[in-house]
């Protein structure tokens, strides 16, 4: 079953050839980094960046959920591990990656 599913995935690794845009390859470099995604209802998810699709839906691995315990800010945070999650693009409000200050400009700067 698993193997079958794997075969269904178009071979994407090979697409890092000349046809791949600079922006796509820069996102590719962000894979497996710690990513912090905020969503509409105020929660944050911190996990390792696993996958993104054309629509901007993100999958994070080994994710920890952070949530405020009160509506009024600032409020204490509560956290729990929730593993592999899919964050649909419409509910995403922010997205940050963990990187050194030097990297920050070269990696993320948009020309």
């Amino acid at each position: 079953m698993e193997q079958e599913a794997e075969q269904l995935v178009p071979v994407q690794q090979g697409s890092s050839d000349c046809s791949e845009s600079d922006r796509v390859s820069r996102v590719r470099k962000l894979l497996f980094r710690r990513m912090l995604v905020g969503i509409k209802d105020g929660r944050f998810f911190l996990g390792s960046f696993y996958c993104i699709d054309k629509q901007g839906n993100i999958i994070l691995q080994d994710t920890v959920e952070y949530r405020s315990t009160r509506r009024s800010s600032p409020s204490p945070m509560e956290q729990r591990c929730i593993g592999l999650i899919l964050i649909p693009s419409p509910c995403r409000t922010s997205c940050h990656v963990d990187c050194s200050i030097d990297e920050q400009l070269s990696l993320l700067g948009l020309k």
Binding site: S21, R28, F32, R34, F45, L84, V97, E103
Partner: protein, 722 residues
């Protein structure tokens, strides 16, 4: 404008972000613009992913903000503290004492409905503990009534939970015992009941005082009334009293049932009777409560007697505690149904408590089988199991080996014989314990486990047989007690194995695992298993009465010719009537098929052979009995036809034996009822058989169907002309 909103959001994000630290010497860099741009460059269906990507695994990701998957979705309140600060669960509920009492009764009723829902297999966190008052035990301490009620609820939940988790009867209802992070009772039992008693006492006095003042006999003692409206005082006092007393007796009942060796069963029965009568009072209080409910609350809330929305409940606050399971939507029982549930639970517990704790394995097994017929729920089954097996002894009183040797018909001297230290005997004891536990579980799990355990029983039988041969060779030293023990126990193990096989087959009817087109093979197999069971039972009984001929290979015919060799006992005769019935049904079904009156559907999935394997794989693997296969089944049913079938008189024989047997069980109403059912099924099938025969050639306008309405597993044929 949209862009402006985005920046606003971004700034708030930045403000709250620093509390989630980035790595050493690194920063959180905003990746949104880059991701947005990269997505535009992607083709439809493209993904950016690493080497270890696995679409199958990715499919199992929890989707955030999907209400069916995301248990962390913020609901009305972000946390319990916030809910409490916002007045979701005030203490007291109202400064007006009448309203306060009214609301507390609603809370009590809703909690009862939640408790019934929990017992039916939902998570504790989303049912009983959706009550915010239960979540912070100290908060209610200023309010004696509410506090004592919450305390007894917590203690009750803890007691029920421990029984169910100790007995491990909950596999299919696995959410039941999840209580992670919930405050279950930490106080001692005494404190919980002492406080409840004190509150009950106060309300009793208030009730007395109000009755006295209304009859104007004398000026009432200086007692502060329960609430402000003198007209409602009596009604509210009574409504509260029956609810409190129910809780008190229910808690005591659980505690009494927990006492070792069934020592508290008699006391438990008294509490059960009190609980049932309090439930009656609770029911009767509904009219009063509904009449005095505030006007505006015509929302038809069904979980309370008054029909008002209870205050202080929020199931969503706890939904995160049910992780790792996804949040489930739970429909809380309505109040009426909750009361019905408790009445059934109490009746089931009463059946358990009234069991005589007869030191007999056979009686215990039959008791459980009978108990299961009323389809008892998880909580009562768990109690039964804990009563049956305690410290490896039957009812915690009788050592298993002595129970086995008694069941095998051995004299008392055998009960303390050193042979019980033999490893296979120890193994056998363990298997009997497992059997007792398994037959207390729900039907689906029970059947699965029974099927699996058949092989263990078979293997143990073979091991015991080898040990027996090793010790005694071929000599038949009749005087030796160990020889006798081995011999008796071997026969008993075989008998028990076929009993399990029979149980396995008939539980399949309860679970509706057989289609009508499988009936032929199922009844044929039941017939085979019953013959072997009857043979072993007969041998065992003959051995213990001393009249039996050892190792006699009596097959069906000798068993049927009752009384030719020696007296056949009533239990074996009872099996005979079932054998005839099963054989008759198998042959009638085979004849219907052979003569084309019932045409099995041509399934594209499984052939008849494959279905045979699927249905009986576990029996075949355990060689129950030896030499049985699909071929034997085909051979014995291939020639069945109606002209010979009538001659065989299977149904008439079954009916005759059942009729005769009734006088053998004068003090056993259940057995009499079972015999009546068998008689009835046999009679009806005999009539159907004759009708079909008289019709002669297959007639398409005649429809033949089978129903289980007269017996749980012996079908009745129905012939109808359409």
């Amino acid at each position: 404008m949209a862009a402006l909103d985005r920046t606003d959001e971004a700034t708030t994000t930045v403000q709250s972000r620093p509390r989630i630290p980035s790595g050493d010497n690194s920063v959180w860099a905003d990746a949104s613009p880059l991701l947005h741009a990269a997505c535009q460059d992607l083709q439809e269906g493209d993904l950016i992913h690493g080497d270890n990507f696995n679409l199958f695994a990715a499919m199992s990701a929890l989707e955030i903000m999907d209400p069916k998957m995301d248990s962390g979705m913020a609901s009305t309140y972000y946390s319990l503290d916030e809910a409490i600060e916002n007045g979701a669960a005030p203490v007291p509920i109202s400064t007006d004492k009448t309203t306060d009492v009214r609301c507390i009764i609603d809370i009590m009723d809703h909690l009862l409905a939640c408790e019934a829902t929990w017992h039916k297999g939902h998570s504790l966190a989303q049912t009983v503990y959706s009550c915010l008052y239960l979540l912070q035990p100290e908060r209610t301490s200023s309010h004696a009534l509410l506090h004592s009620y919450c305390q007894v609820i917590r203690a009750t939940c803890k007691a029920v939970l421990s029984v169910v988790s100790d007995s491990r009867t909950h596999e299919e209802e696995d959410l039941f015992i999840m209580a992670y992070g919930l405050p279950l009772s930490r106080d001692g039992n005494e404190r919980c009941t002492a406080m409840l008693n004190a509150v009950e006492e106060t309300i009793c006095r208030q009730l007395r005082a109000c009755k006295a003042s209304s009859s104007k006999r004398r000026v009432s003692e200086d007692i502060e009334p329960l609430q402000n409206n003198p007209d409602l005082e009596e009604g509210y006092c009574k409504a509260l009293l029956c609810r409190l007393r129910f809780r008190k007796h229910f808690y005591h009942l659980l505690m009494s049932m927990k006492r070792p060796q069934g020592a508290g069963l008699e006391l438990a029965r008294e509490h059960i009777a009190s609980c049932i009568s309090e439930i009656d009072h609770i029911r009767k209080s509904a009219d009063f409560l509904r009449a005095n409910a505030p006007e505006m609350s015509e929302q038809n809330i069904t979980t309370t007697a008054s029909g008002c929305q209870p205050i202080g409940f929020d199931a969503s606050l706890n939904s995160r505690l049910s992780a790792p399971t996804p949040p489930r939507s739970i429909k809380i029982f309505c109040w009426e149904k909750a009361l019905e549930y408790f009445v059934k639970l109490l009746h089931d517990l009463d059946i358990i408590c009234s069991y005589s704790l007869n030191p007999s394995l056979e009686a215990a097994l039959l008791f459980v089988v009978k108990f299961q017929k009323s389809q008892p729920d998880l909580v009562s089954r768990a109690h039964l199991q804990l009563l049956l097996v305690q410290n490896g002894k039957l009812f915690g009183r009788y050592p298993m080996f002595s129970m086995i040797s008694r069941a095998a018909g051995l004299p008392e001297v055998a009960e303390n014989h050193d042979i019980q230290k033999n490893e296979f005997m120890v193994q056998l004891e363990q298997m009997v314990i497992n059997l007792l536990k398994i037959i207390c579980t729900n039907a689906a799990w029970q059947r699965r486990k029974l099927g699996k355990m058949l092989q263990d029983w078979r293997v143990t039988f073979v091991q015991l047989e080898l040990a027996f041969k090793k010790e005694f060779g071929n000599t038949s030293n009749n005087e030796n007690i160990s020889f006798k023990i081995y011999q008796h126990i071997l026969v008993w193990v075989e008998e028990q194995t076929y009993w399990i096989a029979f149980r396995f087959l008939i539980v399949g009817f309860e679970l509706e695992l057989y289609s009508v087109h499988d009936y032929c093979m199922v009844y044929w197999y039941i017939y085979i298993v019953l013959i072997n069971l009857a043979e072993k039972k007969h041998l065992r009984m003959a051995m213990s009465s001393g009249a039996g001929k050892k190792k006699s290979k009596k097959k069906r015919d000798s068993l049927k010719d009752a009384g030719v060799n020696y007296q056949i006992s009533a239990p074996v005769k009872f099996l005979q009537s079932q054998i005839y019935l099963a054989e008759g049904l198998a042959m009638m079904l085979a004849a219907l098929r052979n003569e084309g009156r019932i045409v099995p559907p041509q399934s594209p999935f499984s052939t008849e052979h494959e279905i045979f394997i699927q249905q009986f794989e576990l029996l075949l693997k355990a060689c129950l009995p030896d030499g049985i296969s699909y071929l034997t089944y085909k051979e014995s049913t291939a020639n069945a036809n109606f002209s010979t079938l009538v001659m065989c008189d299977y149904f008439k024989e079954a009916q005759k034996i059942a009729k005769e047997l009734k006088s053998s069980f004068p003090n056993d109403p259940d057995m009499i009822a079972e015999l009546k059912r068998i008689e009835q099924v046999a009679e009806r099938n005999n009539i159907a058989l004759n009708v079909i025969c008289r019709l002669g050639t297959p007639d398409p306008s005649v429809k033949i169907s089978f129903t289980l309405c007269h017996h749980p597993f012996f079908a009745t044929a129905i012939v109808k002309r359409s």
